[in-house]
Each structure stands twice: as C-alpha cells, then as structure tokens.
C-alpha cells in the first residue's frame, strides 16, 4: 500500500477512562429525525410519554411537515393500569394510523424508557400487527430508550431490527451499511462502480422494495462507527464484515475504499484511476481549512461515537492536537483501525460524568471544543470556542467531496471568533 501508515501503535493500547455520572446526551429516539427522511415509506411510532414527544419535537426543531412520518403514542394513566388494555389501545392507534396513511409500507414501533419500564412487549405487538397488516405493511420494533441507547445508537437499533427480516441470498453482493444522505450515497456508489466493485446494495434502502438480501456470501462494510449491533446481526446471517477506518476525510475515504479493493481484488492501477482525481480534490479542499486548524488543541465531549474517527481526521489531515476524545461507547472491534491511526497523546474517555469532564475541560482550556447544544452556549460565554456536535450527524460529511466541508465545520467557529474579536470594541 502506498499510504503512509503510522509506525507508532497509535492509541490502540491507550488506557481508557471509564466514567459514570450525569450524561449530557440525547437518547436513541433522536435517530428518527434522520431515519424517517432516509426511508421514504416508513413511519416511526414511538410508544412513550409526553417527554418523548417533546424530545422529538425539540430535536426536530423547525421541521414540521404537513404529514410528518413520525409520532408518539402517548401513554396515559389508564394504559399504566393494565397492559392488556395498553395492547388493545396500541392496536387501535396503529389501525387508525395505517388507514389514514396508505402510503406507509414499513412501520417501526419504537420503544422508550416508559414502555421498557412497564414491560410493554412491543416485539410481540409487532408480530401481531405483522400478521394483521401483511403483506402491505411490514412492522418492526426496536428500542430508542434513554436507559438503553445513546443518540446514534438509535440508528443502530433500528437497522439491527431490520436485518433478521431481510430476504436470504447466496449472491456475493456488497452491502454498504449506514443511513447516508442521498447525494453522498450516490457518490459512494459511483466510486465503487469506478473500481469495478458490484453489485452494491445499501442498508437502509430509500424504499422498502429496495431492501437488500443477505447471506453467507455477502460482504458488508460500515459507513458509521456506531453500528455495532447491526454488524452483529449481519454476522449472524453469515455475512462477513470488511474492517476499515471510517470514510471521513481523504485518508479515511481512501483506506475505506482500499479495504474493499483488497477484498475484491481491484488492481492498484484501477484503484488509482478511480480515486486519484477525487483524492487530490479532497486534499486541496481540506488544506484550505487546515491553515486555520493546524496546531489548535481539541477537546471532544461524548455524543455520537463519531468522536474517535473525527479526532483522527482532525489530527492527521488538519494538524490539530486532540487533548481528550470522549465517546459515549467504545466498540473495540469496530474502532481498532481508527485507534491505530489516532496519534498517541489524547486521553480517551468512555461514558460521562459531565461535571467532572467540564472540570478537566476547563483546566486544559482547549482552542476548540466539540460538544452538544446543552453545553455549547454556556462554554462560549466562558470564552471557549465550540462546535456543536449534532451538526456532524445532520450534515453530509462522508467521502471525498465532503472532506473540505467536514474540515470547514470545525474551522468556521474559529474563523468566526477571529472576525468578531477583530470587530469588538477596544
């Protein structure tokens, strides 16, 4: 391989600080916000409380649609009294919903903290409804509760729930796993096509009719670091994972493609022909931002599990100095290639005790802090420069053409700070 892989072990053997305390993170229900845009004939029905409905609405911000494809079946006092009634109520609400929305082909019953605590059996309910509404609607169930899932884990739980129902096949297809914006998905397919890799299928698909099949000859590769359960579910179906760093930045994308090329026996010439031009473009686009970012220290609070790959990109391609890289959950097996690349130095932390972490953060006074919206303004008001992390999930950031945009998300707050400071009254 022509790539400059590090000679040092990176962070593979670095100790990890494990903390338990207040977590300042979203629950997995939040995944619905982007999943319902990706899967165009799916409806996400949360079975939960007014809190869950309020969370979805607060996280969805200004996105009100004429007919949104997500909603909350809010548990009322009488539902808590008897589970039999709760099931009957759920059947009735779903019946009504599907009657009003004949365009819905996939229905996700999404569990929440309240539904888990009262042990409402949504898996059983999904089975029951599958019989009732087949073949027009396929009903799945997963949990996005805060007691079990953190933010992006909601997508993992959703995709993992779909895997057992995927049709079986013996075909040797490549599965690209993780919900990507359509424009990014198309770029990914074009690159693989240029390398001569195919057929390629996506999970999740835009519509239920395009869902991939899976079997012992399937190979799959993840585009997102938070898909541990989905990977395990695919393994159980006999598919084999292609291990790779995640396709963030020029280097990440190249290594990701290279891992596929190795499996599919793509020649070096063909690989270079397919990637040389976009690689050069990505490098150039990143360089424009690296000037701002180079040498700056970086602190990442846990949020999405994307922190380690992002720190790797910012350190290696933009010259930043990570001080602490927090992640809500560290999936060793999936993260191994990333940890090997991440330069030695930063503290790795898993989980959170937000007050203690804020103390560490204050003591280190980083140049740039990546954190959630609950912390960003309070930190800004103390003079720190922050990048709110959720945008990294809501913005196209994967693969070559987005590498410059990705770097730009981090350089913009620093450039802004400089602009406003220059304009401030002396």
């Amino acid at each position: 391989m022509s790539l400059d892989l590090p000679l040092s072990p990176g962070c593979s053997a670095a100790p990890v600080l494990r903390e338990r305390g207040q977590h300042e993170v979203f629950c997995g229900l939040t995944g619905i916000i982007w999943l319902h845009r990706k899967m165009q004939d799916a409806f996400f029905l949360v079975v939960g409380s007014r809190t869950c409905a309020h969370l979805l609405q607060s996280a969805a911000g200004v996105m009100i649609f004429a007919e949104p494809r997500f909603g909350t079946a809010i548990l009322e006092e009488k539902d808590l009294a008897g589970l039999a009634d709760a099931n009957a109520e759920l059947d009735r609400e779903v019946g009504r919903l599907l009657a009003r929305r004949p365009d819905i082909r996939q229905l996700f019953l999404v569990g929440s903290c309240p539904s888990e605590v009262i042990k409402l059996d949504l898996a059983r309910a999904a089975e029951r409804m599958n019989v009732q509404h087949a073949p027009h609607v396929r009903v799945y169930n997963y949990s996005g509760s805060g007691i079990e899932t953190t933010f992006t884990q909601g997508e993992d739980a959703c995709l993992a729930a779909m895997v057992p129902a995927l049709p079986a096949t013996d075909a040797a297809e490549l599965l690209v796993v993780g919900a990507l914006p359509d424009v990014v998905e198309d770029q990914c397919l074009a690159l693989l096509n240029a390398m001569g890799v195919g057929p390629v299928r996506m999970l999740p698909a835009r519509r239920s009719g395009d869902m991939p099949a899976v079997g012992p000859n399937s190979r799959y590769i993840l585009t997102q670091p938070f898909l541990g359960d989905t990977a395990a579910a695919l393994d159980r179906r006999g598919a084999k994972r292609i291990a790779a760093p995640f396709p963030f930045g020029e280097e990440g994308t190249t290594l990701w493609l290279q891992a596929i090329a190795d499996v599919y026996g793509v020649t070096a010439d063909r690989f270079d022909a397919a990637t040389a031009a976009p690689r050069a473009r990505a490098r150039k686009a990143v360089a424009a931002h690296a000037a701002t970012l180079s040498g700056k220290s970086l602190f990442l609070f846990p949020d999405s599990q994307m922190e380690i790959p992002l720190a790797r990109f910012l350190a290696r391609e933009c010259g930043m100095r990570p001080l602490e890289v927090g992640t809500p959950y560290l999936h060793r097996a999936l993260m191994e290639p990333e940890l090997a690349l991440l330069p030695e130095g930063p503290m790795l932390s898993e989980g959170q005790d937000v007050d203690k972490q804020l103390d560490r953060h204050g003591a280190q006074a980083p140049d740039l802090t990546v954190c959630g919206l609950g912390l960003a303004n309070p930190l800004e008001s103390q003079g720190f420069t922050t990048k709110w992390a959720i945008e990294l999930v809501f913005t196209p950031v994967h693969f070559y053409e987005q590498a410059g945009d990705l770097a730009g998300l981090f350089s913009r707050p620093l450039r802004r700070k400089a602009l406003l400071t220059a304009g401030a009254k002396p």
Binding site: I64, A73, E76, E77
Partner: protein, 522 residues
C-alpha cells in the same frame, strides 16, 4: 394511548425546569434517564442562556433498574449539593422515574442536606408543562415564604415570570417601570431572577401582581390565603387592559390611577386613516388562554378586527377562555391537537391568524398571514431587542407585529381593483415579504377557448374547486371566484356555499356568487 404528532406543552418536569432555571441559588435534582437532558437545550439554545440550567439528572440506565436506583438518586443529590451549594433544592421525578417509584422527596429527607429541600409531585401521565411550573412555584413559596410585617413603602411581588416564557424578560421590565410611575416598588419578582432567600421575604409585600396565571396562580392564591395579600386579576396586555390594571392597583393601594402615558403610540396609529382598511378583518386566535383572551380584546376593541375564532391548549384556563369567547360570540376551541386547530382555522377562513409556532406553520400551509402571540415559540421569538407585550410599550410592539404580515392598505386596494393582476396574485404574495414574486402563467388563448367550449357543451363538468357538502361550483363561477383577491377568497367561497346550501341550490353559478355577496354585505 393517544397518537400525538406535535405537542403544545412539554411534560410537567420541564415546567419545573423552567422555574429552577428562572431562579438563582436553587438546584433541581431530577430522577430521570439519560436522554432527558435534551431539555437543557431549550434553555441554552431557544432562550440563548449563557449558563447550564441548574438541573442535575440522575441518568439511570436499564442495567440500574433491578438494583439500587434509590442509591443513585441519593449520590446524585449529594454531589449536586456539594458542588453547587444551593440555598435550597428541588427534587422530583420525570415520567420514567415516576414508574419506578423511588420517592425523591422521602429519600432526600433521609440525607440531612443542610438546606431546605422541596419535593415536587409531577403527575407526568395526566398533567403538562404549565401545571409543572405552577405547581413547582407554589411548592417553593409554600415551603419558603413566611408571614411578615408589611414594608413601610408600598411594595408588591411580581408572580409567574419564568424561563422560556414568551417575552417574560421585557414584560417584567415594562411592568416594573409602570408600577414605579405609580409609586409602587417591586419587592420580589419570582421565579424569574429570584433566589430562595428572596422567596422568604415575599410576605412583606402589600399585594401581588399576577403576571401570568398559567405559571403563578397557585402561588398567588396561596399567598392571598396565607398572608392576606390580594392579587391583581387583570393581565395588562393591551391599552385597555393596562389602564384597567392601573385602576386595579390604584384600588388596592389607594394611589392615583392618573399615570403618564408618554410613549404610548398605538391608539393614534390605530386611529389614523391608514388603519381604516383593518376594520372588520377576520382574525383567528390560538395559544395559551391568557394571551388569547387579552389579544381578543385588543383585536376587537383597539384595532377593530372581527374575532372569528379563539381557543387555547391549556385546559387549566378553559373557563375564562370560554367566557371570553362568549363575549366575542365565537365557539371556544379547547384542544391540544394541532390537527383540530388546523381544521377550525380552515373552517373559519380568517384573514389573519394570531397564534403560536404551530399556527405559524398552519398559516404557511393555508397561505394566511400570521403573527405569534404565545408560547410555544422558536428561537426568533426570544429577540435581542426590547419587545414586551405588556404595558404601553407592549401595545406599540403588538400593533407593529400584528399589522406587519398583512398586505398593506394601498396594495390591497389595487389588488381589489385589478383582481387577478399579473404581478399581484395569490402565488406572488404580499409585496413587502420575502420570496421571489412569480408572474402568473396566463392560459393560452387556445386552452381558454377549449375550456370555454367544454364549459358550454357540458355545463355540469366536475368543478376544480373542492366542493363542500352537496354544493358544487360551475366552471364560470369558479373562474369568477378566482378573480377575488386571495385574502378574502376563503370567506367568499364559504359564504357562497353556505348561501347556496341554505337556498337549496346544488350548482353554484356566477349569479349565486353575487347573490351571496349581496346577502352577506355588511
């Protein structure tokens, strides 16, 4: 179970957070799962607060459930106390903790914390955000305020302003200044800006000003009973209501009601001839009851609109809203289902909607101008500039805010004169609003001729205007209807259909349209 797409109010513990975040020196410990911290960003983003809300979440997980969640609560409460050293603490449960039945109040009592600890009862499966705020404030006042000798000077407390309140910041400033003009000093404003120590001194005020019944009425009633403090009943939003409020304060205190009104411009703006075209414009109002009731009075008595519908989402204040609706002769709508609100608005065919963030979206969908008068609101309704709703400056702000979305007077006249003008038509929107004007696509002569031929040969072709009930629109009448300016077309369509149904006319012709117009002429 109830399928909910959008909610006007959050759960009651968010109300408790609004009280805690409004205050200083107070800390709330919420027994809640990881994830419920989402509510922090309402305060840091929408209200743009520069500090974290003073709220600790116990963040229990599934693996904790079989075990010692009570112990988890205690250690979270202890470390919050140690870290923040508050003057008082609030403890309560979110919806999930309510189900696991640890008792935060009882647990905190056993800990012997060196500050008052107030336990909250927040029934998450039957009540909502406003109740949570009202109840939390009441619990705090009950626990901390003591009977005291009255201050020598005439003072009052301001009750009900919270974090995330619609224009609470500037309303407090405006009413404080108004009271100062009368010679009344504010003793404590609470919860907004108060400390627990401040709450202990509330009993020394002569009376209470209840700014927001939704979030302060419980405490106001309690203090009336416990300390003999009367509270004001008139919420000073609008010129008439502000003057009435002044008279009410004068009655309580014996001070003069003759207050300098310099700076009040709304009455002249409304009286000036430029505003004549506002007369009788049909307005639909929805929001929290207090803002809707006060807005209806302004609309009818101070601007000269016709109130064609009003409603609120908070059942707690349904009674005063019903009474107000009766006064305006409209059917009250008490609902927290935005689809019901949308249906009511569509049926009333207003020319202006005054509502919340949700009504703004409904208005956009229906193509009706709209202004925001009540929470819930988004980030742009926590403005940087001074923008009260209360008092005399509030009246100025309200006039500007409500009139802005309407098509301006001269433009309206020209639109009526030239009907389907090629530059001004419904797809183009008002001239002073954003969005690129779209020139109307004229039917080509051939298409028009064909349409006319079809119309002539088959007068009963299916009309394009959606028929309501039994009546249907003949093509000519439909074309005529489209020539009516879009801002009155809705009501013209509805009136014509009602007229036709009443007369037993099944097919609406151009004549029916004009007969109906004459029938309903004011």
């Amino acid at each position: 179970m109830k399928l909910t797409l959008w909610t006007y109010e959050g759960p009651p513990h968010v109300g408790a957070m609004r009280v805690a975040t409004a205050m200083k020196g107070l800390h709330l410990v919420l027994h809640a799962p990881q994830g419920d911290t989402y509510a922090d960003l309402l305060f840091t983003m929408i209200e743009r607060r520069d500090h974290r809300p003073p709220v600790t979440f116990t963040t229990f997980r599934a693996s904790d459930l079989g075990g010692d969640t009570a112990g988890l609560f205690k250690s979270a409460a202890q470390s919050a106390y140690d870290r923040f050293q508050p003057q008082a603490m609030l403890v309560g449960s979110s919806c999930t903790a309510e189900l696991i039945q640890d008792d935060p109040g009882g647990l905190a009592k056993t800990m012997g914390l060196d500050c008052p600890v107030v336990a909250l009862d927040l029934p998450s499966y039957s009540r909502k955000e406003n109740f949570g705020a009202d109840e939390t404030f009441l619990a705090l006042v009950r626990a901390l305020a003591k009977p005291m000798a009255r201050t020598e000077a005439i003072t009052c407390n301001l009750l009900g302003a919270t974090a995330l309140g619609f224009r609470h910041r500037d309303d407090v400033a405006e009413i404080t200044a108004l009271l100062a003009k009368m010679g009344v000093t504010v003793n404590v404003c609470a919860p907004l800006g108060a400390t627990p120590d401040d709450l202990t001194r509330m009993g020394q005020a002569h009376f209470n000003v209840l700014l927001y019944p939704e979030t302060g009425e419980g405490a106001a009633r309690y203090m009336e009973r416990a300390f003999g403090q009367p509270f004001t009943k008139c919420v000073p939003i609008g010129v008439g209501a502000t003057r009435e409020f002044i008279r009410e304060v004068a009655g309580i205190t014996g001070l003069s009601a003759d207050v300098d009104e310099t700076g009040l411009r709304q009455p002249w703006w409304s009286a000036s001839v430029d505003s004549t075209y506002l007369t009788g414009k049909r307005v639909f109002l929805f929001g929290d009851a207090t803002h809707v009731i006060t807005a209806a009075r302004i609309a009818a008595e101070e601007i000269g609109f016709t109130v064609v519908g009003m409603g609120c989402y908070n059942r707690e204040q349904a009674r005063p809203l019903r009474a107000a609706a009766a006064k305006h002769g409209v059917e009250p709508l008490i609902s927290d289902d935005y689809l019901e609100v949308e249906a009511a608005i569509a049926a009333a065919a207003p020319e202006l909607i005054l509502g919340t963030q949700m009504e703004r979206h409904i208005a956009k969908r229906l193509g009706i101008p709209c202004a925001v008068i009540s929470a819930p609101v988004h980030v742009q309704d926590f403005p940087a500039r001074y923008s009260p709703q209360m008092g005399f400056e509030g009246a100025n702000v309200i006039f500007d805010t409500w009139i802005h979305p309407l098509v301006m007077g001269l433009e309206e006249h020209l639109l009526t004169m030239f009907r389907e003008d090629f530059e001004f038509h419904d797809a183009a929107g008002a001239s002073h609003h954003g969005g690129k004007a779209i020139a109307r696509v004229e039917d080509s002569p051939a298409v028009a001729a064909l349409a006319a031929a079809v119309a002539a040969s088959a007068p009963a072709t299916v009309p394009v205007v959606a028929p309501s009930g039994e009546v249907r629109w003949l093509p000519d009448a439909e074309r005529e209807l489209k020539k009516i300016p879009f801002f009155v077309r809705g009501v013209a369509k509805r009136n014509t259909e009602r007229f036709a149904a009443g007369k037993g006319i099944a097919d609406i012709s151009v004549d029916t349209l004009y007969e109906a117009k004459a029938h309903y002429a004011r």
